[in-house]
Symmetry: C2
Subunit: 281 residues, 2 copies
């Protein structure tokens, strides 16, 4: 069948940087001597590849040996306490935090210092969000299903940031819901990743040309899930898969053109492998 | 027929204050010696009453006699240049600007001083808006039909205020449209009048109980027109009238319960007169 690729897809510079920082550190220090506090990106295949190359991604700060090992902060970033604890234990820190996540962390700190009650639009269980909200006390995290009346203070000065991988439309609609309530002042720092936004726009544009969409990426990857959500919201039959292994022929029954895109942590080899195989069907 | 009044309606404290400031000034200085630069509120019947009591509302700054007359700034406020010109001509100034309009003027000035590109959501022809945007250079005024791509600067720090009489829903939706475009930062100062918001909520609540709505107020009154727009948006048959003189029996044909509300510059005697007559139908 015919396969069309989204014009913007896959690895963003934040993920590319994180992988490169990791590979350099492992090359320099040797296998097993760089320990990440969890998977450094949300793509199991890439995580496995890095693991094979010598990165330990199951670390806990207390178990890392300062004499022999360095701690790697993954692309999603970490709370300030993590850096402090690493420093207190005398650990070398390799920081692979995405520059845009760093910018969100700084925005939260600045808004708090300016006297705003800080609000983050995002998934409270996502590591990026758990890290970013560590940069100010009492940040309120809100997402789609949230009861804003109960969650937000009344007639306040609110400082708002969003999880970097959310879509501008989603953030705009969440803020519109905030603005119909009483407030004194709202200051929004744009923390959205333009690369993610471009992938979302490209995926939506591709929906107009195809009969079915495949979105490749980790099941926990927030930006991949947002791509899936947006395509489905547009009424497109959309499958979220990690690799070709999960493909089933019924998915393309009676379809002639398939669209293909991938989240920001999906390596190009997974995408091209999938495209090549789908074309032979 | 049965007539139900909106729980919140008519004169707001800004209009009450403006009328009182005028009446005191006319009492003190004498009829013809207080000159407003246009109708002091947007209600023709009230304007006429104040005219009869001795307020001149057809004034031009250059024609007022400093030896004998004072200039009255109406509830909608005025640009800083108006105050400067009055001072330069040695005129006494009686300031009846609504405190909330003053707050909007100060917000515009502060946002500009903080380095924001100032945006005002409002009707560019309304005297409040024409006055408020005088407090910073190059304020962009946007309203419903506006092409935001053309009107707003790209990836900027935007400081936003709104015409005091707009509804929170309208402002939230305009800002949502701004937020789906690229921007660095958006700071919103809430300049909405809570009394106007309460009248809007009361009118919408009343829509659920009645067969037809009457909204009393000047044809040029922005907050009255917003009440009409909101009720119609809810699917309610709604008439915007100034007084009982414009009532026609066909308006209540086959209707048994009428709702009645009024804009913030509509005096209570117009409302109660209308209610009394409608009840006898």
């Amino acid at each position: 069948m015919e396969v069309r690729l989204a014009s913007s897809r896959g690895f963003c510079f934040g993920v590319e940087d994180a992988v490169q920082i990791d590979e350099e550190a492992v090359h320099e220090r040797g296998p097993g001597r760089v320990v990440a506090l969890g998977p450094i990106i949300h793509n199991p295949q890439m995580v496995e590849k890095l693991e094979r190359e010598g990165l330990d991604q199951t670390g806990e700060l207390g178990a890392i040996d300062p004499a022999d090992q360095a701690v790697l902060i993954r692309s999603h970033g970490a709370r300030p306490e993590t850096y402090e604890q690493a420093r207190a234990r005398g650990l070398a820190v390799v920081d692979a935090t995405c520059v845009l996540v760093k910018r969100a962390q700084e925005a939260v700190q600045r808004l708090y210092e300016e006297g705003y009650h800080v609000v983050m639009i995002g998934d409270p269980n996502h590591p990026e969000v758990r890290g970013v909200i560590g940069y100010a006390p009492n940040v309120t995290v809100i997402d789609e299903g949230c009861d804003l009346e109960a969650a937000l203070p009344y007639r306040e000065r609110l400082g708002i940031v969003a999880q970097t991988t959310h879509s501008p439309e989603h953030v705009a609609q969440m803020i519109a819901r905030i603005l119909v309530r009483p407030y004194k002042e709202v200051k929004i720092i744009n923390t959205l990743c333009l690369e993610v936004t471009r992938r979302q726009e490209a995926a939506l544009a591709l929906c107009d040309e195809v009969d079915v969409m495949f979105v490749l990426g980790g099941m926990k990857s927030a930006n991949t899930r947002e791509l899936v959500r947006l395509c489905r919201q547009k009424g497109m039959t959309t499958y979220h898969l990690e690799t070709w292994d999960q493909f089933e022929p019924r998915m393309v029954e009676n379809k002639s053109v398939a669209g293909l895109t991938a989240g920001a942590s999906t390596p190009e080899w997974i995408i091209s492998d999938f495209a090549r195989r789908l074309e032979t069907i």
